[in-house]
Symmetry: C2
Subunit: 328 residues, 2 copies
DNA sequence: GTGAAAGCGCTAACAA
DNA sequence: TTGTTAGCGCTTTCAC
């Protein structure tokens, strides 16, 4: 900026004003400065501007990962949510800073905010540490979580209606005459727990008591789908249907069942969750519960901006719908 | 920092030194300051620190998107590359700033660097605008591209060995006695063009001339796979194999062929490209060309850091391998 | 319509 | 071992 000022024979104040299109500066001077800036490929230093203006157009998007499994983030649903968030944020003129945190230390997600790098944080996935999030909220960190609404929650969540989702999935299977429905999912995660609750509700409505033998507590590990099917086989338990708490899990399980010579949907009808892009192209095309990423992303961003504004943002429960395809 | 200084009864310099664990400051003073900082939930303002230090630990990861189709970024390969990059960068202590640019204006990718937000840029995908990238390089922007190595290239690329990849895929199909191999891909993209070149080489080695009727110039659009299969049907052209330039495309095409009653691999053997996670769980499990994301991500980051260091970084061609599964 | 000066939060040379 | 001071690149009040 000093260079431009010198070349234009004005002060840096004038350059600053010209670059911000201030009407205070003479039209002609302004044009000269803008031309100069362009020809020098000059761009304003955003860090310095932010510092001076005490503002910031950056939002941190943080993904908790299970350190124990050291797994790369790979669930297409989360990845695609990240894409949608980047879109929604840039639509609103915000930059997106991506980072991961250990799922056991989700409170570390506030780092970009604490360090003044971001005006707020969007957490994709809530993990098991409700308490850490509550503390973070108490500390005044503006953040929004993609996840389930929980009792005594001091922070804002945006999430699908997991109970209804679980119910819809199970009802679909029941409607097809299936009665022995395996449930695959890690119910220590609030979202999955709610889906399981919906599942049990639907069973109850049909007078069926949930059979613990049919519930497999897989975590979201690489080989989880295959392991779950193996576990069911080991238990020697009979099942004619399966509700998997993610499409990825469902696909892996179907793959494993196929290796056992079981046909989907003839032998086992399967419903997944998330409606990732590939679900429709899978064989058989996967019946699943839709969670619209772009709507979710916009809701997350909107809620965060409200928080940043100092107002309080209510948690949002987005409607879910059954996407009926061939697998069930 | 001023608050802490006041409370600790020292100057901000001392606080600054204490926070950076400088040995210059008295052990006891340092502990007092660090305790104070912790109890106040104080974190250094990175923007100010960067400004003062003229440094920066942020790298921009930019994804070109086809504005015409306004499609959400959805190819799992790119998304998963983004994940691997975020991992590789944070391993090296860098933050990741994500943004998109119009594929027709890839030179806009330099914005985060120009604005001092990032020390360099990693571009996932090269697009069609070699010239814009060359100009960007001439301007001195430190950036690395995931893509194909081209003649007269002033910038650094890291990419798979696409020609070999194309050759391996086609040889696999030829080895199974297939002779009428459809090629699906947008050959205006350098990477795809190179894969096509490898394809033609393999055909030539078997004395087969490429049949233009078998080449379908799909772009990476949502319905591209289905459209391509429809197009082949419209042309009334016979084929007993298919080489798709991405796994996503392959899966969509297989889905469409199945709807036509054609069996994979019995009627049509299919080879994809990328080896995305779901390829192994697809039905039939997809034979494909592996492009290791984590290795690629590390290579991209390493190359960028060399550039940022002011040195020149050679382009890298990573080995590709055939992942043999059931689809071919 | 323009410039001088102060200050955003931080660090480092220099002095004590 | 610590403090004083200047300055990173920018914006804005105040004065002219």
């Amino acid at each position: 900026m000093a260079d431009i000022a010198r070349l234009a024979g004005v002060s840096t104040s004038t350059v600053s004003r010209a670059l911000s299109h201030s009407p205070l500066v003479n039209q002609e001077t302004r044009d000269r400065i803008l031309d100069l800036a362009r020809s020098l490929n000059y761009t304003i230093n955003i860090g310095a501007q932010n510092l001076r203006l005490q503002q910031n157009r950056t939002v941190a998007v943080v993904i908790p990962i299970d350190q124990s499994s050291r797994q790369q983030l790979s669930d297409p649903f989360f990845l695609s949510m990240l894409g949608s968030l980047a879109d929604a944020l840039s639509e609103q003129g915000f930059d997106t800073l991506v980072s991961r945190v250990d799922a056991d230390r989700v409170d570390a997600a506030s780092a970009p905010f604490d360090g003044g790098r971001a005006i707020g944080v969007i957490l994709i996935g809530q993990g098991r540490h409700h308490d850490q999030l509550n503390k973070m909220a108490a500390r005044g960190v503006p953040f929004v979580v993609w996840g389930a609404q929980l009792p005594q929650q001091l922070y804002t969540t945006v999430g699908g209606d997991n109970v209804t989702g679980g119910r819809l999935a199970t009802e679909r299977l029941l409607a097809q005459g299936r009665r022995r429905i395996a449930f695959l999912g890690d119910t220590t995660l609030p979202e999955v727990e709610q889906r399981y609750r919906g599942h049990v509700q639907a069973l109850a409505a049909h007078g069926i008591a949930p059979d613990p033998q049919l519930q497999v507590a897989v975590s979201f590990l690489p080989e989880s789908g295959g392991q779950a099917v193996a576990e069911l086989a080991r238990r020697g338990v009979d099942y004619d249907a399966m509700f998997a708490s993610s499409d990825l899990l469902a696909m892996k399980a179907i793959h494993a069942m196929r290796a056992q010579g079981r046909d989907v949907p003839a032998d086992v009808a399967v419903v997944g969750y998330d409606d990732i892009e590939l679900s429709g192209y899978f064989h058989p095309p996967l019946t699943t519960i839709g969670q619209p990423r772009d709507v979710a992303a916009r809701a997350l961003v909107d809620a965060l901006l409200v928080l940043v504004d100092g107002r309080s943002a209510p948690s949002v429960k987005l409607p879910t719908e059954l996407i009926a395809r061939a697998s069930a």
